[in-house]
Symmetry: C2
Subunit: 373 residues, 2 copies
């Protein structure tokens, strides 16, 4: 921790290594932090209409002060922006600004803006510098680490993209104060996920300190830093997702299926909520398969419930498709390899593992038992 309370997490990826700075007031210090690492560049800022209202002027002022000229590309807010059409819009905007490879594209926003902008910066001139200023908790603890970028296709989410590492991530903890409570909670599901994957002590710390994380201050910075470190460790072991990195999908196979089953209708279920229910289901299913203790599943459910997150399918408003249809959504998920079902299952809190060849019949039976309909 530096004197002003900023924490630095180094993501060790050889010549693609970069820093994540986490703390208060970083949007206002963005210009100096960028200029120190990438001297003499120009930038394009990609953001959405909502984020622009709150944070674009302070960011532009900070860049100006550091002598960095910038142009802004402001897109509509929402998941639909992760499309080919908006990808082309960003690419054309960066080229129209005549930025060169050594210049940078800044993503100022949540996961949608980060994923889209990272993809665009990865393909303009076959890869430009990329800086992330994530403005949601989810983006700060998830998409800011690992270099996965992408857009959605009619065939599914995140099916098109590249691996492109940022040169710098600035996670300003103050901007989270302006998030709706529901969105902060949804991001918290991914924080808890890191504890459940392989950091049981962190999960136990969250059980005790989650209220301080929600209210802000050093506990929030610490939770974000721990999450980034946890993800960075996994990514450093498996940058291109050929093995271990799949652990980060804990809760995501069930979660994605539920998101698809609710037609990505954010009024019913947002991504982090899907992950929350997915993690609870992964633990409960592991218990059903006699891999983990039912007590651990209950502990996960209790914590999600305590923070106000949904933890079971019955918590999703409206009707769900039946179990057979949910299984079909799971089978469509991109984590299906050679037709076999792959899940992240667990042997207990912080003991998750990659389970290949999970029998579809067991999953179907489990979905039927837990279906609210």
């Amino acid at each position: 921790m530096t004197s002003n309370g900023t924490v630095k997490v180094e993501v060790g990826l050889g010549d693609r290594a970069y820093d994540i700075l986490i703390g208060s007031g970083l949007v206002g210090r963005a210009g100096e932090e960028i200029a120190a690492r990438l001297p003499g560049i120009r930038v394009a800022i990609v953001t959405d209409e909502n984020v622009a209202r709150a944070h674009l002027d302070p960011l532009t002022a900070s860049l100006d002060k550091a002598g960095i000229s910038s142009t802004a590309i402001v897109l509509p807010a929402g998941e639909k922006t992760k499309s080919f059409a908006h990808l082309q819009e960003v690419v054309d905007g960066v080229l129209a600004a005549r930025l060169e490879r050594r210049d940078a594209v800044i993503a100022l926003g949540g996961g949608v803006i980060g994923d889209l902008t990272g993809f665009a910066s990865g393909i303009v001139r076959r890869g430009m510098n990329f800086v992330q200023i994530p403005t949601s908790l989810l983006a700060q603890v998830d998409s800011s680490v690992g270099g996965k970028t992408g857009i959605n296709s009619t065939h599914g989410k995140n099916l098109v993209g590249v691996f492109h590492q940022p040169r710098l991530v600035l996670a300003d903890t103050d901007v989270l104060d302006t998030l709706p409570a529901r969105e902060f909670r949804a991001g918290y599901a991914e924080v808890a996920k890191y504890g459940l994957i392989d950091r049981p002590d962190f999960f136990a710390w969250l059980e005790k300190n989650w209220q301080e994380v929600f209210s802000g201050g050093p506990a929030r910075t610490e939770a974000i830093a721990q999450s980034c470190r946890a993800k960075a460790d996994v990514v450093a072991r498996d940058e291109f997702e050929t093995g271990d990195r799949a652990l980060l999908n804990l809760g995501h196979t069930f979660g994605h299926a539920l998101e698809a089953a609710t037609a990505y209708d954010g009024t019913r279920l947002v991504h982090g909520e899907g992950v929350a229910i997915g993690m609870a289901l992964a633990h409960r299913f592991s218990a059903r398969m006699n891999l983990a203790s039912p007590d651990d599943a209950a502990r996960v459910e209790a914590h999600l419930k305590a923070v106000g997150l949904p933890w079971r399918m019955a918590d999703i408003p409206g009707e769900l498709p039946d179990a057979e249809r949910l299984l079909a959504y799971i089978a469509q998920d991109k984590k299906v390899s050679r037709g076999a079902l792959t899940f992240i299952l667990t042997r207990g809190i912080g003991k998750s593992f990659i389970a290949k060849d999970v029998p579809a019949s067991e999953v179907l039976a489990f979905l039927k038992e837990n279906h609210p309909g």
Copy 2:
């Protein structure tokens, strides 16, 4: 060289290393060569209408015989196909075929199909296996090595793309027999380029043996193999084009400007012809700057003339923009760094080097002296 006359060039890029096979009858052996390296996969073949007529059925039959099921995506022929719209078409086609990461996308065609398909395969699921079956001489000696992929933008050519290495390249020398003479000659310009960059003995060999290269047989295979080796050497030193790889742009700065100045009208000038004139101009300009002997420039011009390639601006049919306008096209080229003009110049045959900060005034004077108008 193997018993059937096939030559193998290994492109050494660590865990992204791959083989280029060069020789007769490789389309008919594609199935077995692919199955040996990527067992159990399914493929999508991307090609254009012209190439499909001649080579799609033999390729499909060869894949069938090896037990590889395939689906074909047939696009219009021509440079306009390197667009966002066709990129999306290929991406959607590959996803619609439900191919997974371990499956492969095959590019069957010239540079346009190779660049577009390589890009699509590099972004579907953040990178699928990619196999190239280049059907033009240009594609066999240029785009088959190095992993550069991309599409054009309204702001310029090849401004959007990724680095994505193929898993295998099959350069079937027989398919070149069906090329129009003009297209074969245009591709030959890039063959000569490798001699001019850093292989003076190869250039001298071409001066003696070019007729055998044009008529086919072992000399053609040898010329293609030498070209692939030359390019592979440069790429292995600089995979992501941060330095030495720029040598491959010998002739391309002038060439691209002439292509742009003729509005990419292939009836007036195709890419290889632009490179031929560009190489001659680069040698003549180097002589003018007292870097190289005028005799070497004359030797380059004489060889290009002998094989029937254009070698001076006056060889381009129709009127050209004036020298000032040509300089503006050069300055727009993506190889401009921080506003300074970068050229590949030479100290003689096989002695090319990267020249930064070339004075625009000298280039302008040179263009005026050599302008046919």
